[in-house]
């Protein structure tokens, strides 16, 4: 079976590459080449953000539902798994180690933690999604944001997981874990999008009424994409918790949700590669701004690094003014297999209740770029 072999090869290559990178990030380095711990941290956060952005893109970009509560789901994954790894895992790991050895036990326990985090979040996504997805556009947005904030405040009031003081969590995550799950997320979202289900999701974004008329149970698919999207946010939360080794609800405010939205809008809604790019840029940008020099201007010392948050915000506005469709627009970057037919970023056009004119007038410029078409053939 050649496809099977191809896939196996792909998986082996990815894992080998991740291990090599991970080795480079370790203290010994790989064949003498080592990367600073700082870069390891950066790469890991990029990986976590890739999971968040690509999964959010499934619901926001492809299904066209406007959800801005991703951080809340991330929090559920983080806390559910942390509860397990803090209170139960040490005992279990010890018991398992006796049977399969310490290293394998370590891996198995973390796989279990990730599973629990993902499952808990998927369930939360179902509970939130079923009532919420009856709402449209901005109403859906504010309700998802509301749910996320409620989740955060509820967690804040559970002393068992640290409440307001925070929770110390064992550090299971390393770069390989993050890398593997980032790749899994990308592959799964890509495969879903390019299938019958993917067409159903996109048809909901494009014209919900026509989709229903073609026999698509729009409610079911909206909830499905919401649940899948949440589950990955939960996994990102697990990885984040066990990398950061400390959990505080301050990491899961709505500003975090906004950050993920920014990533996908920046990269281009409805583009997987765009979401990856957006995640990388938004992770690196604040760090890069930290390196800004102090400059003497008008006889005064200006420390630009102190202004980094101001510059970050200003850059965001400038990018939106100059690249309103995101950096990649709606195209997929490079490789043929990642391409979908050209689509327009629409935000949430389906605000059926609009009597007035929406500011999201449909972009009438053709998005198909003939040159790009030829190049990708």
């Amino acid at each position: 079976m050649p496809t099977f072999v191809k896939r196996l090869l792909f998986a082996v290559l990815v894992i080998a590459a991740l291990f090599a990178l991970n080795a480079m990030l370790s203290t010994q380095g790989l064949f003498g080449f080592g990367l600073d711990d700082y870069y390891g941290r950066l790469l890991t956060f990029i990986g976590i953000n890739v999971i968040l952005a690509v999964s959010l893109n499934l619901i926001n970009g492809f299904t066209g539902q406007f959800s801005i509560g991703h951080a809340g789901f991330m929090a559920i994954g983080a806390y559910a798994s942390a509860y397990m790894t803090v209170y139960h895992a040490p005992g279990w790991e010890l018991a398992l180690a006796g049977m399969v050895g310490a290293d394998a036990a370590h891996v198995l326990i973390f796989v279990l933690a990730i599973f629990i985090g993902g499952l808990a979040t998927a369930l939360a996504g179902l509970v939130v999604g079923i009532p919420s997805l009856r709402l449209r556009g901005d109403y859906l947005a504010i309700v998802t944001l509301g749910f996320a904030e409620i989740i955060r405040i509820v967690i804040l009031n559970i002393d068992k997981v640290g409440g307001a003081t925070g929770l110390t969590v064992p550090g299971y995550t390393n770069f390989v874990w993050v890398g593997v799950f980032a790749v899994i997320t990308i592959v799964i979202v890509h495969n879903i999008v390019r299938s019958d289900i993917g067409r159903a999701l996109v048809s909901i974004r494009e014209d919900e009424l026509a989709a229903e008329a073609m026999g698509i149970n729009t409610t079911r698919y909206k909830v499905l994409s919401f649940v899948i999207s949440s589950a990955f946010a939960g996994i990102a939360g697990v990885l984040f918790a066990h990398y950061n080794k400390f959990l505080s609800t301050a990491d899961f405010t709505f500003l975090r949700s906004f950050e993920i939205i920014i990533m996908i809008v920046l990269g281009g809604m409805g583009s997987i590669t765009g979401a990856i790019l957006g995640a990388a840029v938004i992770t690196i940008l604040p760090e890069a701004l930290r390196q800004l020099p102090t400059v003497g201007l008008f006889g005064q010392e200006f420390n630009f690094a102190d202004l980094r948050l101001v510059i970050y915000a200003a850059l965001l506005i400038v990018i939106m003014l100059t690249r309103p469709q995101g950096v990649l627009g709606t195209r997929e970057f490079g490789m043929n297999w990642l391409r979908r037919a050209q689509k327009r970023p629409e935000g949430d056009e389906a605000v059926g209740a609009d009597t007035g004119v929406s500011i999201a007038e449909r972009d009438t410029t053709p998005t198909a770029d003939p040159v790009e078409e030829v190049k990708n053939k």
Partner: protein, 305 residues
């Protein structure tokens, strides 16, 4: 009963502030279908503008009604100008693009104002001067109302009536309603839509600034990030009432203010700790939207097939 009345007074006080800010959200949404996330930060800017006006003109030292009025109007003016500038330079250029783009721009403006606030004013809270001699009046029994609360009520009501008058009784108000009904048709009818949109931003920002100064009379701590949570709750109030609907924003604001205060006041006795205060607004919102998907006073329009 006394505590109930007291809670109600306190709740409505906060509620009027939410209502003032919610009006700005709702007006801008009504006209542009834009969630202006920076609006909460305009409230902060208004409070700081008031702070500097009061200190600069010496009203801080000597409480007087005139001083208060000038501070209030001055900060409203400053906020209106800033609101118009934001609209002109950040929102207008992206108005024709997808909603996500405008939304991110709004988030960017919000972050910009907050971080500029931190850089310019410093992150630590400042104490807003008392502009009027404060005094408590006893109502029935033990319930009391302070002068600053009376001030908040009277100024908010006056401003809301003024807004109502502008929107329903003036030419520019008619134009605003026309633009919110259909921007393109309004343009074809010869309305200068850009001007009307700018005016809407000015009006909304001025109301938010008034909210900022009034809050500061009641709770004098002001800091650059004060607009985040208050702004979010005011937005929730606007959605609760039916976004785009002006009486709805007032109703939503008052409701959320009151509910929040009651949870803090009585929640303990029914097992809801006061730390859930910030979740109240969202919980009410979600419950209401499940039954009335367009908010309390909003109306849904069926899609044409």
């Amino acid at each position: 009963m006394d505590t109930f009345v007291q809670q109600l007074i306190n709740g409505l006080t906060i509620g009027s502030i939410y209502a003032l800010i919610a009006l700005g959200y709702t007006m801008v949404y009504g006209i542009l279908r834009l969630i202006n996330f920076a609006h909460g930060d305009i409230y902060m800017v208004g409070a700081f503008a008031g702070f500097f006006i009061a200190h600069g003109l010496g009203f801080a030292a000597e409480p007087s009604l005139v001083g208060f009025a000038i501070t209030l109007l001055g900060s409203m003016l400053v906020a209106a100008l800033i609101g118009m500038a934001i609209e002109r330079f950040a929102y207008r250029p992206v108005r024709k693009y997808a909603r996500m783009t405008t939304l991110i721009t709004a988030i960017g403006v919000s972050l910009l104002l907050e971080n500029l606030g931190v850089v310019i004013f410093g992150g630590a809270p400042r104490s807003f001067p008392q502009l009027l001699q404060n005094q408590n009046y006893t109502l029935f029994g033990n319930a009391a109302i302070s002068k600053s609360q009376i001030l908040i009520f009277s100024v908010s009501i006056a401003l809301m009536l003024l807004l109502q008058w502008i929107i329903y009784r003036t030419k520019v108000g008619t134009a605003m309603r026309a633009v919110s009904f259909n921007l393109n048709s309004a343009k074809l009818m010869g309305i200068n839509t850009n001007l009307i949109i700018a005016f809407t931003f000015a009006l909304g920002s001025a109301l938010a600034a008034a909210g900022g100064v009034l809050t500061a009379q009641y709770n004098p701590q002001i800091y650059p990030l004060m607009g985040i949570i208050t702004g979010l709750k005011a937005f929730v109030a606007a959605v609760l009432g039916g976004i785009g609907n002006i009486p709805g924003a007032v109703l939503g604001g008052l409701l959320i203010g009151a509910a929040e205060t009651f949870v803090v006041g009585y929640g303990q006795s029914v097992g809801i700790p006061s730390t859930y205060r910030d979740a109240v607004a969202f919980s009410i919102l979600i419950l209401v939207l499940l039954f009335r998907p367009a908010g309390l006073l909003g109306s849904t329009v069926q899609e044409k097939v």
